[in-house]
Amino acid sequence: MDQVTSAPGTGDFAQAELTVPADVRYLVIIRRFIHEAAQVLGAATKSIDDLVQAADELATNAILHGYRGQLGWIEVAVRPAGGDLLVILRDQAPPFDPRLVPEPDLSLPLERRPVGGLGVYLSRILTDEIRYHALPAGGNEVILVKRGVRAAK
């Protein structure tokens, strides 16, 4: 049961949360938020950069491919889990599981590979694990995991 519920009820006093309109102009806020929160939690710079980029790619997808111009929200949470760091993204757009986007088949020569986007690919490369849950009330929750990135506290 690793679905994450809203912070101010849970008694989890290490989590920081952000909610912004589903509008690409707010991507910069998502990035700054993850950056600063991960820094407070003691993550190393390179790991922070990776999480920021992975989250930016998936939030961009949620806004452009998920909401497609409909009004809506993106929720972001940053939480520690032992030495690991989690970034949780939630939206209320139609269900979409990024884990089901096919991996580029690296054994094929480049010109024979199916042509696909870079966003999901980058978010996979830059994290250690991506978890997904369709939210019971509708919408999506994606959890980006980066392992062993926090100095022992």
Partner: protein
Amino acid sequence: MNVSTDHFEGRVPVTIMNVQGDVDASNYQDLIARARELYAGGARHILIDLSKVPYMGSSGLVALHSIAVLLRGQQSPDPDAGWQAYHQIGRDVERGAQHAVKLLSPQPPVTRVLQTSGMDRFFEVHADRSAALASF
């Protein structure tokens, strides 16, 4: 994101695009639009200075790719189709580096996304401005 431009007369004229600020899905089309203006004004060699770009999303890679396509004299990608444009990137990267558009001094996170995406095989990346200008 802001873009200012400089011109340099070497063996060939080179236009330098000094980009400042994050390049993401909110502004990558502005970057393409700026390059389209420069191309319309006659620019055929562009050095994109990335030293003041702390972050570049995959949409920024779309923009870089679109600019190279533009400078090749091909149909400039429709800004609204920009997002689809990088479905062409795989094929282009495979053809090897082009030499009309080059990159200067990306910061570490941008270097990482250029490498991870394979775009560093499509763009020459320079660390020194004079050397970059002389290479055209």
